[in-house]
């Protein structure tokens, strides 16, 4: 962590986890044994090493949203070197690090925090060495006392240790992490059970655990709740030790042990760094005595439910709850709710690529700033986004299409986002290409990994005509004019060139079922789903056939392997000498020029394609002939979580291009390799 806000985030995170654990312990205080009551704190140990928000979630997200609001409010008025007020605070590690010379008050607060840690650690070491000196200077125990300790150790099969005695010591304790010593009162007799208690501390390495929690306490010295938590952990450790003692004792011995504890309620107790003591204060001793009174041997099966409860808690404390709901309301800029909404959006972390794209697409559709903020990379300011006009997709059953998603490296994807706008038309009503209410808008995007996934637009949006439903089959044009993507194949036949563009299309399920009392309605969901996955996918094929015969003036044939894309108004740039209208020769170079697409479409009388195992014949109506492209679906794919598209079955497409009523050629496309194969029917 590099600033005071990083510490705040981390301490809130750990406080949230420990608060949950304390609540669960409260529910189970008289139901689960002391072993579980202490063991559940191991979950907190796991979280100590996890940076807050590392996996995109928080236990209580609102706390972190409020912290981000506070940070933005404070830092926007300061000139901090350690903090960028506009960026979300994410810790990459848990140790505090100074990254420059402090300037602002918050920078100095961070320095003060680090200084506090140093002071406390120094105090620990000072106390430790002072105690060590005092204990080293103390008397060797009498032979009788050492024998007693050895006898108890042997009786209960516990490791023995060296003993020291100190005059006027109120209660026994164990001291020293590397070479532990048992320190006993010199001037009074020590009961066997007290020695047993201390030996059990040694056996279960409680000194090391105390050391660990003392360090954690130092790192969270500002947070009083964490100080309380560390004290609770220490008390649970003592309670567990009592429980272990009770397991080894029987009958009247257990009651005697309770009486011993009772006698310690008014005594002072050592609580130095690197020590454990049977006495831990009046309040906690009374709790321990109550626990002893409730003592019973829990059935063996109880271990299983104890473990299951810990397993249930683990995903919560590691992954937390993700922030994934967006407020749809508009708030006045500068107001508390507006700032809250902004902070919540910034803290939203899209866990999946599909989720990031979904959020961005809905930002475009709704023009809501929080949606943009949720997927905006830190390196891009909001003004840099090219915001396309508001798009109306309410005429269809898909909000958007993700076309040709490609991974360029481990942390980057590119894609085209396609919208069918049912209210916009680029043609005038007099044009033969006019169709009431449809155009498609393509937005090129890049998706990068940055605290989850972020999205930004890489080029201008492109609008062009769309095609819609035709005949018995559903097809949609996903050609992305202006942003060449997918795989293009040009195949030359004797009758003409066929340009096939293969695009990969991915969909998310944006249908929303709203359940009223007895009825269910299905609508489109405009709320972002930052953790969604792709739910469907298919390959879409654009086919364009340009016959050689009856070519318009200026048309020159094209060599199949040299051209990548075909455009209606590309300038002539070939060195051919055949002239327009002539047939195809073996050595000609080809290119398009001034093609009258209307005439081309008139040549296509019929398109037959396979969908699954069926052959469906489409009769292109006069209305459809004006289209300059037709897109055919030929393979339906299943998506899995790990692979965006997983090809379940490969089916080739058979395109029968019928020219003047006669079948000319079958073309088969291998969907895996994109290879075009010609075979006779």
């Amino acid at each position: 962590m590099t600033n005071i806000w990083g510490f705040l985030s981390q301490t809130l995170f750990l406080s949230s986890i420990t608060a949950i654990i304390l609540f669960i312990k409260f529910l189970m205080r008289d139901k689960l044994p002391a072993r579980w009551q202490y063991g559940v704190w191991n979950i907190a140990i796991v979280c100590v090493f996890v940076p807050a928000g590392r996996y995109g979630g928080y236990i209580f997200p609102r706390l972190h949203i409020l912290a981000d609001m506070l940070k933005t409010f404070v830092e926007s008025r300061l000139n901090s070197v350690f903090t960028d007020f506009d960026k979300v605070q994410f810790n990459t590690h848990i140790l505090p690090v100074i990254t420059g010379k402090p300037v602002s008050i918050t920078d100095f607060l961070f320095i003060a925090y680090i200084t506090g840690i140093a002071v406390i650690m120094f105090r620990y070491l000072f106390d430790y060495f002072r105690l060590k000196t005092a204990v080293s200077a103390s008397a060797e125990p009498s032979g009788e006392m050492q024998n007693l300790v050895d006898k108890v150790a042997e009786k209960y099969s516990l490791p023995a240790c060296k003993v020291r005695t100190v005059p006027q010591l109120s209660s026994a304790f164990v001291f020293g992490v590397v070479k532990p010593l048992m320190v006993l009162p010199q001037d009074k007799a020590v009961d066997e059970k007290v020695i047993l208690h201390e030996l059990l501390h040694l056996k279960y390495k409680d000194l090391w655990k105390n050391l660990f929690w003392a360090v954690i306490k130092a790192f969270h010295w500002i947070n009083p709740f964490m100080l309380y938590v560390c004290k609770s952990i220490s008390n649970d450790m003592e309670s567990l030790c009592d429980y272990r003692v009770m397991e080894l004792l029987e009958g009247e011995q257990r009651r005697e042990y309770g009486r011993i504890l009772l006698s310690m309620t008014n005594e002072k107790y050592p609580s130095s760094f690197g020590t454990t003591s049977i006495s831990n204060g009046r309040q906690f001793i009374s709790q321990r005595i109550q626990a002893i009174a409730r003592f019973k041997l829990y059935p063996k099966g109880m271990e299983m439910v104890s473990v299951c409860i810990v397993i249930m808690l683990l995903p919560l404390v590691i992954y937390g709850s993700s922030i994934n709901n967006f407020s749809e309301r508009f708030y006045k800029q500068g107001s508390f709710l507006y700032q809250y909404q902004q902070s919540r959006a910034k803290l939203t972390s899209c866990r999946t690529v599909a989720g990031a794209i979904d959020t961005y697409a809905k930002a475009i559709l709704t023009q809501k700033e929080p949606y943009y903020l949720a997927v905006k990379p830190d390196s891009v300011t909001l003004q840099q986004y090219y915001l396309p006009p508001v798009i109306d997709v309410s005429g269809g059953n898909q909000l958007y299409y993700v076309v040709d998603l490609q991974q360029t490296d481990n942390n980057t994807y590119i894609a085209n986002l396609l919208f069918i706008d049912y209210k916009t038309n680029l043609e005038s009503p007099d044009s033969e290409y006019y169709k009431d209410g449809e155009s498609k808008i393509t937005v090129p995007i890049k998706i990068i990994r940055e605290n989850g996934w972020k999205v930004y637009q890489t080029d201008d949006a492109v609008s062009n005509l769309a095609v819609g439903l035709v005949g018995e089959a559903y097809y949609t044009s996903v050609a992305v004019d202006g942003h060449t993507t997918g795989n293009n194949y040009i195949y030359s036949t004797a009758q003409g060139d066929v340009d096939i563009a293969v695009h990969k299309v991915l969909l998310t399920d944006n249908s929303y079922s709203s359940q009223n009392f007895m009825f269910q309605t299905v609508e489109l969901n405009y709320n972002p789903m930052p953790h969604t996955d792709f739910t469907d996918g298919y390959y879409a094929v654009d086919v364009e056939f340009i016959p050689y015969t009856q070519q318009p003036d200026g048309y020159v044939n094209i060599h199949a392997k040299t051209m990548k894309t075909l455009k209606a108004d590309s300038p002539v740039s070939s060195d051919n000498n055949s002239g327009a209208g002539s047939g195809r020769g073996p050595d000609r170079r080809h290119c398009y020029a001034n093609i009258n697409m209307q005439k081309v479409n008139q040549e296509i009388d019929q398109i037959v394609y396979t969908y699954g195992d069926k052959f469906t014949t489409l009769q292109k109506s006069a209305t459809e002939r004006r289209r300059n492209r037709a897109t055919l679906i030929f393979a339906r794919l299943n998506t899995t979580k790990d692979n965006f598209v997983s090809l379940k079955k490969t089916k080739g497409i058979h395109i029968f291009v019928n020219y003047n009523g006669s079948r000319i050629r079958d073309l088969k496309v291998n969907t895996k390799t994109g290879e075009l194969l010609e075979y006779n029917n």
Partner: protein, 182 residues
């Protein structure tokens, strides 16, 4: 000395019905014809009876009451089409559920052991299996991990719970229950 055979038998049957009502959901629209809240009420009544024989069962009264309140609240939310989504709340409820199921079955088993009612011998095994599968399906469901593991565990859980309910019904009609006394 009070003989508890009839009351105890009824309590065990209530536990069996509770398992069925909570495990299965048949919805007509949004109405669950096997309501959870009814199952929890049966459970609460059973706990009061079993608590007379096994005092540790009395610790479950509070949990049963909490689950009744929660299920009624969930039903009201469904009717008025609003929901409070909180992973923390879900985890706490699941922990209460898992402990409660485990403890009540343990108490029934201990009673069976004490009075040598052998029809209860399968209860601990089924208890352990259902506890484990419930934990797995809950963790995987909320963590959105492998779908097959999630639903596989859930299916095994329902099958085992159905079998457990069946065993409890048989146990409730065991002749040896007449030996149970207060």
């Amino acid at each position: 000395m009070k003989y508890m055979a009839t009351e105890y038998s009824k309590a065990v049957k209530n536990i069996a019905w509770y398992i069925i009502l909570v495990s299965y959901h048949f919805n007509i629209g949004i109405i669950d014809v096997l309501p959870d809240w009814l199952g929890y009420i049966l459970l609460y009544n059973a706990v009061k009876t079993i608590g007379k024989i096994q005092p540790s069962a009395n610790l479950l009264k509070t949990f049963s009451a909490v689950l009744i309140a929660d299920s009624l609240f969930q039903m009201i939310c469904k009717i008025f089409d609003f929901s409070i989504q909180s992973y923390v709340y879900g985890v706490i409820m699941a922990i209460i559920h898992i402990y409660l199921d485990f403890q009540i079955l343990t108490d029934i088993w201990h009673t069976a052991q004490k009075y040598r009612i052998y029809s209860g011998n399968k209860i601990p095994m089924l208890r352990n299996i259902t506890t484990f599968t419930y934990t797995v399906s809950f963790v995987f469901l909320y963590s959105d991990w492998n779908v097959y593991v999630t639903y596989g565990a859930a299916v095994i859980n329902i099958i085992m719970k159905t079998y457990l309910a069946f065993i409890l019904f048989i146990h409730a009609d065991d002749e040896k229950l007449k030996n149970i006394t207060l």
